[in-house]
């Protein structure tokens, strides 16, 4: 793995696609779609190439690989530094895969202003890739904010009836969170006095050079930026709105990748850089994590709208990430990282299924749907599979993540585990109840003769279903990436 700029290409090839699409005439819809597919396929291919060489690249399982470095603003210590490790690479892979699938899924689903849609979707991919790959705070922040603008338009133009409200709410929540985060980043910069925005160097210097009390404030400032994205209760209210209104492919990207930017921030920045503050806030983390798990699950149970149900289910699952971080044992932290990926796959898949059902029946109301096993057997089966994965059925990806988190939390606090298990029961409850209501029963007359899954839809389902299965039976595939980073974080916390 020599100096080939994998990471820069993964980040900026989609941007090149955006520019190319903008130059194409508006009515060449087929060409635009092909260009979008091609330019989102390239990062995926590159991600596979990196995956194939991972072991030679990182024999010790620690540290950054594929580092790229260029000076940008040397007088302030800002440089274009990109790199990846076992923490970020699975997220990068997830981004590449799901953006590509989102492009394919949008193929027939987006029926107006296709040029703008695909240009924005590719721009969004550049932002997400950059967030996971940047190792300089300013570059990280630039990408972080870059995500906002395309997402705003993707929800606001192609969304449902309340799209404008949902889009601006998303925008304002995340903007406020991230600008406060920027103040925190600047406080880190001046606090360490290291004259650099490099994440690794700041992480090495922060603990010893910043007064403990200031560390707590900085931690909270960063926390606000990340917590809005996760979203952590009580900053979560934008999520159901955004999810419900967003068009299906965008819901997929939102749930699968955007939420992970928040948890990634905790894992990449908050914990390694300010471990003392992280320990100080352990109870807050655990408590809010448990609130997320139980509140999210209970609220999901009460939903009549399928998309809202999936959205609240996301809130519940992100609670496990927080709980795993709070527990701070190697197994729990690895479980939190595992949850990032498994939830990305499962929730993305759930949104695809909801989209497929809505496409056919034009409703997402659970009471209005019945007997889908009979009318659209393939879609119903895939939905059932995904719902089982969502409720944590052993043998599927979600189970491994939850198991790791709970097993890792057990030595720390049995109470936390017990409370989380209550949440899991509710999660199982609403998933089963949802399946019972919409898949079983007497099929509705007006839905007879609906077309089942089209080949292009199956094409988007197969890779995700396969990965959910693989990660459920062979956790080693993913754990070989996560082990090192999880141990690193635990060591920073002073555990083990």
């Amino acid at each position: 793995m020599s100096g080939f700029p994998y990471l820069t290409l993964m980040t900026f090839v989609p941007l090149a696609g955006t520019i190319l699409i903008l130059l194409l005439p508006r009515d060449r819809v087929e060409t635009i779609k092909r260009v979008a597919a091609l330019f989102s396929l390239v990062p995926l291919v590159l991600a596979f190439a990196v995956w194939a060489q991972w072991d030679q690249a990182l024999p010790r399982a620690y540290g950054m690989v594929l580092l790229e470095h260029a000076e940008w603003i040397p007088s302030l210590g800002i440089s274009y530094t990109m790199g990846t490790d076992g923490l970020s690479f699975p997220l990068v892979f997830l981004t590449a895969l799901l953006t590509f699938l989102a492009v394919v899924a949008s193929w027939h689903m987006i029926s107006h202003r296709q040029k703008d849609f695909f240009a924005l979707l590719l721009l969004l991919e550049t932002g997400m890739m950059g967030v996971f790959l940047a190792l300089d705070y300013v570059v990280f922040y630039v990408f972080w904010e870059l995500v906002l603008v395309p997402m705003y338009f993707l929800i606001g133009i192609w969304g449902g009836p309340r799209r404008e409200y949902a889009a601006i709410k998303f925008f304002i929540y995340t903007l406020v969170g991230s600008v406060v985060m920027l103040v925190g980043i600047l406080a880190l910069y001046f606090g360490t006095g290291a004259e650099t925005f490099n994440m690794m160097e700041i992480a090495a210097a922060a603990e010893s050079r910043i007064p403990a009390r200031t560390q707590l404030w900085i931690f909270l400032a960063l926390y606000l930026g990340f917590a809005v994205k996760v979203p952590v209760f009580p900053f979560h209210t934008w999520l159901p709105d955004a999810h419900v209104e967003a068009p299906t492919p965008i819901s997929v990207v939102l749930a699968a990748i955007l939420l992970k930017m928040g948890t990634y921030g905790f894992l990449r920045i908050s914990y390694p850089t300010l471990p003392d503050a992280a320990k100080h806030f352990v109870v807050m983390f655990a408590a809010l994590g448990l609130v997320n798990i139980i509140y999210g699950a209970l609220t999901a149970m009460a939903q009549k709208d399928l998309k809202k149900l999936v959205a609240y289910s996301s809130i519940s699952h992100m609670g496990f990430v927080l709980l795993g971080l709070a527990a701070g044992t190697p197994l729990a932290v690895a479980g939190a990282m595992y949850m990032n990926i498994s939830h990305g796959l499962i929730s993305g898949m759930l949104f695809l299924m909801v989209g497929a059902i809505y496409d056919r029946t034009h409703t997402r109301e659970i009471p209005a749907l019945r007997g889908l096993y009979v009318t659209v057997p393939v879609i119903a089966t895939v939905l059932a599979f995904t719902a089982f994965a969502n409720l944590g059925l052993p043998g599927l990806a979600g189970f491994i993540a939850e198991f790791f988190v709970l097993a890792g939390t057990f030595p720390v606090s049995v109470t936390w585990v017990a409370m989380a298990v209550v949440g899991m029961l509710v999660v199982a409850g609403f998933n089963l109840w949802m399946m019972q209501r919409i898949l079983m029963g007497e099929p509705k007359q007006e839905y007879a003769g609906l077309p089942d899954a089209r080949p292009i839809e199956l094409f988007t389902y197969v890779p995700v279903v396969a990965l959910i299965l693989v990660l459920g039976v062979a956790p080693g595939v993913l754990m070989r990436f996560l082990n090192g980073p999880a141990l690193e974080i635990v060591q920073r916390l002073g555990g083990m």
């Binding site: 922040y141 904010e145 601006i168 925008f171 903007l175 406020v176 600008v179 103040v183 600047l186």
Partner: protein
């Protein structure tokens, strides 16, 4: 060397007089009158080239020496602002040529007045002497009053001119009085730089002239100057004239007001207050009085950005909205003065560059659309992304930058201000800026929503029979959008330049 230094001013003044002369000999209205606009453009371009040619020498400090008894200085700061003012003048004239013709504004007067206003701004930035600064200030102000009223058949234009004139005259009087007190305090009309000021306070200056005669007079004078310049840059509570003047004035003039004279006034503020802000604290009662100066700026900054943003939220006219937005941005800029560090002052300079680019970009779109028959109400922008996708995208870029989202110049401007505030342990000021940034999303969003999320209404928004337009507005628009992105990506050299410029204050 001395004459080289004032070559840009000479070119601008000469062109201004030439334009007036040329106007006498041009007969007939309409297209023939364009010649004066082009002449003005050529003059400004030549002056800009002359000013750019001074940059390397100014960077080496070869032009710092006092010329003509210190009436003119050629330090990095002066030359940088000259370049900015000339660029602003150039863009404004480009934006105006079609507009002036369409709205039957007398082209000769318009062009000459813009040139004289730019000349005044250059004098303001390019001197250390209070008298020359005041002359520049008045030259700009008088030209501006007339410019505001040039739409003679529009009563709002007249109202704008009268309001601008009355408040401007009051502000000038306050400034002049403040200057006289500062003169009394310093014992000289020449403004000291930071080191001379420190010596002056210590009473150990090489000559009696540099010793501070009366710190009390100086302090009172400075406070009056804060109020007077507060009027000029529309700082709350001295801002009430701005929305009416901005709304009533011809749109290219509004664009000019919102960046040109404002930047010039900030340049003078940096020149006057910079040494006091970054000075080592002096002891005694007077020292405490000077130490309050940053707090004064902090209060004004918070008031200005908050009021500006809140009131902008309820505006329905885009010019008025941009007027309040420009009030809010003056508040952000004041943060740089409030933190009272070299980085804070440099951040002010960088922000002024970024602000000029993004605000002119926004106005360029408004003018471009107005020339094509779109009104100035926010509701007239409904469905713009379908009707004029490029204009909508350009306005979006300007607004993204005005909000402060990367990778635009506006983001780096705010970033640098944040940085200065956090460095000076004034993170609370940065947090208030954050809150304000969130508020500001509201009104920029209203326009973006109309442009992109609303389908075009069923009405003939486009007026029939447009004039054939020159590509000038489009060129200016493209240039500002490129500048909005380029100023961000070229942050390093520009921030370095800003730092160097403020180092000589």
């Amino acid at each position: 060397m001395e004459w080289n230094l004032v070559l840009p001013e000479l070119i601008v003044a000469g062109t201004g007089l030439g334009v007036l002369l040329l106007d006498l000999f041009l007969t007939g209205g309409g297209r023939g009158r364009r010649a004066v606009g082009y002449t003005g453009l050529a003059g400004l371009a030549a002056a800009l080239a002359a000013a750019l040619r001074l940059m390397p020498a100014a960077g080496r400090g070869e032009l710092a020496g006092p010329f003509w008894q210190g009436m003119v200085v050629g330090d990095q700061f002066a030359v940088l602002f000259k370049v900015l003012f000339l660029a602003v003048g150039l863009v404004v004239l480009m934006l105006a040529v079609d507009f002036v013709e369409r709205r039957r504004i007398p082209a000769g007067e318009f062009t000459a007045l813009v040139l004289f206003a730019v000349l005044g701004m250059m004098l303001m930035g390019g001197s250390r002497d209070l008298i020359v600064i005041y002359l520049g200030l008045e030259t700009t102000a008088v030209a501006s009053y007339v410019l505001a009223g040039l739409l003679r058949d529009d009563v709002r234009s007249g109202e704008a001119a009268i309001k601008y004139f009355l408040t401007g005259a009051l502000a000038s009087a306050v400034i002049l009085f403040g200057m006289s007190l500062v003169f009394g305090g310093l014992g000289s009309t020449s403004l000291p730089n930071a080191s001379a000021l420190a010596e002056g306070f210590a009473g150990a200056g090489p000559s009696a002239a540099t010793a501070v005669a009366s710190p009390l007079l100086l302090a009172v004078g400075l406070v009056l100057l804060v109020a007077g310049f507060g009027f000029k840059v529309a700082v709350v509570p001295f801002h009430f004239w701005a929305p009416d003047a901005y709304e009533g004035a011809p749109t290219p003039v509004t664009a000019f007001f919102s960046v040109g004279p404002k930047a010039a006034a900030f340049a003078v503020m940096l020149r006057v207050f910079g040494p006091f802000l970054t000075m080592v604290p002096v002891t005694g009662v007077e020292g405490k009085a000077f130490a309050l100066l940053p707090s004064l700026f902090a209060v004004l900054a918070v008031l200005t950005m908050t009021v500006g943003n809140l009131v902008a939220l309820v505006q329905r006219n885009i010019k008025r909205m941009l007027a309040y937005s420009s009030v809010a941005h003056a508040g952000y800029i004041l943060v740089g003065l409030a933190v009272a560090t070299p980085r804070g002052l440099a951040a002010v300079v960088y922000y002024l560059l970024a602000y000029a680019a993004m605000n002119l970009g926004a106005f360029a779109v408004v003018i471009w659309l107005n020339n094509r028959g779109t009104g100035d109400e926010v509701d007239d922008y409904v469905g713009l992304s379908q009707r004029a996708p490029l204009a909508a995208a350009a306005l979006l870029a300007a607004f993204v930058s005005l909000i402060g989202i990367p990778p635009t110049a506006g983001f780096f401007g705010k970033f640098y201000l944040f940085m200065a505030a956090v460095e000076a342990n004034m993170a609370w000021l940065a947090v208030l800026m954050v809150v304000n940034t969130a508020i500001s999303v509201g009104y920029y969003y209203a326009v973006v929503r109309n442009m992109y999320l609303q389908p075009e209404a069923e009405r003939g928004a486009r007026a029939a029979g447009q004039l054939p337009a020159t590509p000038l507005v489009g060129t200016a628009l493209g240039a500002t959008v490129v500048a909005v992105l380029a100023l961000g990506l070229l942050f390093e050299p520009l921030a370095r330049l800003a730092g160097l410029a403020c180092g000589g204050l």
